[in-house]
Symmetry: C2
Subunit: 245 residues, 2 copies
């Protein structure tokens, strides 16, 4: 292993290639919970619990984005990034991604208030999502932005998800799938802005390596969310409450 | 002194009265640097240095507001507070309070890039402004919002400032005073929102006391900014570079 501090930086194309390779291979669309979901093999409870637990992740997103805003000294960057917070919170009550997620929760038959309270979130999901906020709080602006590059891979997943849900889970109210319909173009724009930012500023091999490490950590967070769901609701016995026979 | 943890909370009116009393008496409009400024007694250099150093404070504002956003779990609060960041950064290049401040800097004869770089900011000003960001990062959401209540007192000061500058400093380009013209109505709205938030949530005497303490710390930050300017540019000799004869 050569010393990363003396190694010349990768070209933009090589670097993007590395990001794509690590991100794609570790992205949570490969998780067995997602395989079951997209193959129509989740029970109603298992799908509901995914929606409920993932809502906690959604609530962390505007918080981590505000922390990213606070790391930047550049009004132009902040003008670009603030849109992410507005996308999630909306500009008025009843708008925005968090609201759409709560409607999705109602669409799969959950109680809106129960989901919004986050009181039934699995401990492992909470640890992973809080770990995401800590990661963003502690790392550099560059690494924080790099960790968001998972969005590079999300539009396809969301598009496939709508199709799979419409096909396999006819009991879901189709009108409530708007979150997955509205997000892909935004996620695409967000990830292009982020990749431009990251490639322009990761000017040494060491910085490029740190960006990839932050992205890998982020994929671990998303993966762990599904691990926790799997352990609790697909193979229970080792879930919250300890080992059960 | 009675134990604040057992003392009943003040009524809303008593609490606002306390906030107003502490804030008003400690607000930096009483500082001798402001007296000199408003009496037309600052030299061109002294006025310029106020603009240059205060710009560093301005740049901390959207950062501390983003930290406040990140502390809130409530999309409705965030929708209200995010407006402050947009007010400072603008929605497009060439807009917003930071840009207006740089035009003000040009209006008093400063080099825009020199001011924007923040490289000539006095150490004491930097410590105080960074201290503001640290305060916001470390304290609760309630205390962070309470520290912003100095805005309660700012509209009058800004209105008086425009009149004083137009009268006493004819060499300043009047078209560049827009910051002080546009801020008062926004500051008024911001402070009303903040006082509603603080009075609704400071439900114990102990919390009320912590809010007042945060506000007092904030007045110390604004005051220290002017102390540093006074020491460096009105009574030099103890300014940066150490004691001089």
């Amino acid at each position: 292993m050569s010393d990363p501090s003396t190694r010349p930086p990768l070209t933009r194309e090589e670097f993007i290639d590395w990001v794509r390779r690590e991100g794609e291979s570790r992205y949570h669309d490969h998780h067995r919970y997602h395989h079951l979901m997209h193959d129509g093999k989740l029970t109603r409870l298992q799908l509901q619990q995914w929606v409920l637990n993932r809502y906690y992740y959604q609530t962390r997103v505007p918080i981590k984005d505000a922390l990213i805003l606070a790391k930047s000294e550049d009004p132009a960057f902040r003008r670009m990034w603030i849109r992410r917070i507005r996308d999630h919170d909306g500009d008025a009550a009843g708008e925005g991604g968090l609201e759409l997620w709560l409607r999705l929760a109602e669409g799969v038959g959950l109680d809106r208030e129960e989901v919004a309270s986050c009181r039934s979130v699995l401990p492992g999901v909470r640890f992973a999502c809080d770990g995401y906020v800590h990661l963003i709080r502690e790392r550099s602006l560059l690494e924080a932005v790099a960790s968001s590059l998972t969005e590079f891979f999300s539009p396809d997943l969301m598009t496939r998800r709508v199709l799979a849900w419409e096909r396999h889970y006819p009991w879901i109210d189709k009108d409530t799938l708007d979150y997955f319909r509205t997000r892909p173009p935004r996620a695409r724009q967000d990830s292009l802005e982020a990749i431009d930012f990251v490639t322009a500023r990761a000017t040494t091999y060491e910085l490029q390596e740190r960006c990839v490490a932050a992205l890998i950590r982020k994929t671990e967070i998303l993966w762990h969310l599904l691990d926790s769901l799997y352990t609790a609701y697909v193979e229970p016995g080792w879930g919250p409450g300890g080992a059960r026979a």
